[in-house]
Symmetry: C2
Subunit: 369 residues, 2 copies
């Protein structure tokens, strides 16, 4: 088993506890870690074809070395492919290889790989074990932890899904070396969000060490990812099924963020970019409601810009964005629930935001054309 | 709320406890029962188009009378329609009506309605409440209880699914009045199975009162369905995720039963009919292993025949059936796990059955052509 300096968190859930391991080169430990998690049977490694073949090969070798008979499938796992049709392709492959309930699915790739392959694991034979090996920063600090799985419908993102906790999450920081810059930025948006809503110290770290963190150098990058992972793990352990408000805090910036993705057409803005703009809109709302002052709004804007994230959106209207928020699945009984800051590292849920306040704040993040 | 004489069982699960209510005319109580289960929001009633429109209308009225704003969708929910494509049709409808997490899906129809609509409820927005209103005998005594949901793949039945416990199961015996005879017989197969594996008294009741039970007359029919429901509820409460062997006992007759359905092409034999034949094969195995004597085999054959169930299969070979058992999802690490009787009302799991014993027993249930 990995020396426990790499253990970022243990997530506690009704389906059992699981380890989140974060470090450089930890992919070599996947076999022992899986065994320690009680996994036996065969491994079905399903990887995004966009991954470097070398990384998939290394994972495959590490599994076989530990005695896991392993089948590998690589396929396109981008947002456009996050459909039931792709799920069906994977089901067919599992069926051909007679994957059984004792076998383990290993999902390797970015957020789409985790969501889609996680959904397949949740629903194949009514649920088989899954190990998440996220290879994008966004998937590491956010999507890979917490058991949310999802598939898109033409009508909207993530409308279909299930809660299915992984048995292990293994994050190899070395995988980030080849990640495109815009994707790194998107990941930083989620990590910075954790600081904004729950950890003022983490926010500080992001503000003070932008260049070093962006280059992923030294221990600081690994430690900062670990800290961000811990926050996510704590929230998930406290509110596994998003029944209370705790887990909902993670959706800071997501109401307008989802609306931007929806209205712009998926792909124009990366998820993290849309969330960054969404956080700016939410900050505008909070300021108008007197919850925070302009200084925190500016601080948020500055840290996002340091990580090359957009803070305004173009090509959409306020009307379109506001209409789109109303179909968001986080609305309850028709009213939109906003996650708003009360201070650095402190967020709350509010469902009583007047529409004119929303409109002003949204207009503020629309770039002049 | 229904007077509790209609309460057949309370199922205890990690997702919460729920009532199974069985009686004549209990559909009128659906609104108060849903409220007592803590359900609010709107109702999305999804019914098999094969149901009598009158029954769907009554359910709709009963919901509206209790203040549930209700949308109704009727569609073909037979075995051929138990696909991801049909699920996608329902997702689209839910999306059009903006069904939210606080809303409730009501699944009304036979086993396919429960499985497929249950799967949609398990996966829509990562899980919304579902109320099961089974209208076939098989669905009542078996599939509606326990939270198993499923969809077929071309490669096999029920390969995709999820565990998603209902919030309420409401069984109106009046719905059985219009059920075709063969479907009734199929339901009796599952109910008799409960007696064979776990309750010798229930087995007695089926043997002594066949005519009365088949006519669904008087209290005895309702009580017998309730008792059968109780057995299923107890097993599910003891082994929610089919991790131990308890729940597996319910698969008595299913290994060969599934093989028969698979090899014959779905539809030639109803599920319950295939299970009846499968139980005869399993009894033949148990007798050959010295676990039971010929008398119990004959007793089982006789009670199945009393309820117009087949005890032999035609048009298939032993080779085909045995090959098909090996793809069954209940096999573990390659070896087939058999549910076998040790006596009336007593069953066990065995994975050490020699193939020649299986072959002899299977050949015995193949009708001479």
């Amino acid at each position: 088993m990995t020396t426990d300096e790499n253990l970022a968190a243990v997530v506690k859930t009704s389906q059992g506890d699981y380890r989140v391991v974060v470090g450089r080169g930890v992919i070599d430990e996947i076999g022992p870690e899986m065994k320690a998690a009680g996994l036996t049977g065969r491994a079905f490694l399903i990887a995004d074809v966009a991954m470097f073949p070398q990384s998939v090969h290394e994972a495959h070798e590490a599994l076989e070395k530990s005695g896991f008979v392993t089948n590998v499938m690589t396929l396109e796992l981008n947002e456009q492919a996050k459909t039931l049709d792709t799920a069906q392709e994977i089901y067919s492959w599992l069926s051909e290889h007679r994957a059984e309930r004792v076998d383990t699915i290993v999902a390797m790739g970015g957020g789409v790989a985790g969501d889609l392959v996680g959904f397949v694991a949740a629903t194949w034979l009514r649920g088989v074990p899954v190990v998440q090996v996220p290879t994008s920063l966004a998937a590491m600090v956010d999507a890979s932890i917490g058991g949310k799985t999802a598939v898109n419908l033409p009508a909207g993102k993530n409308l279909i899904g299930a809660f299915h906790q992984p048995r292990l999450v293994l994050q190899d920081v070395a995988h980030l070396a080849t990640l495109p810059e815009r994707e790194m930025a998107g990941g930083f948006a989620e990590a910075i969000k954790h600081g904004l809503i729950l950890d003022p110290q983490l926010l500080d770290t992001f503000e003070r060490n932008a260049a070093e963190l962006q280059r992923l150098e030294g221990d600081l990058a690994v430690q900062t990812i670990r800290r961000s992972v811990q926050i996510k793990a704590e929230v998930v352990s406290a509110d596994e099924f998003e029944r209370g408000e705790t887990r909902m805090l993670l959706n800071y910036g997501h109401t307008i963020g989802h609306a931007i993705e929806n209205v712009s057409g998926y792909g124009k803005y990366f998820h993290g970019e849309a969330v960054a703009i969404g956080m700016m809109a939410a900050a505008g709302i909070a300021r108008r409601l007197g919850m925070i002052d302009q200084e925190l709004v500016d601080r948020q804007r500055n840290v996002l810009k340091l990580y090359d994230l957009p803070v305004t959106v173009s090509g959409v209207t306020a009307d379109e964005l506001i209409a789109a928020t109303k179909t968001d699945k986080k609305s309850r009984g028709g009213s939109v629930r906003w996650i708003l800051l009360e201070g650095p590292g402190k967020a709350v849920v509010r469902s009583d935001v007047p529409e004119d306040v929303v409109r002003e704040a949204v207009e503020e993040v629309i770039a002049d054309s």
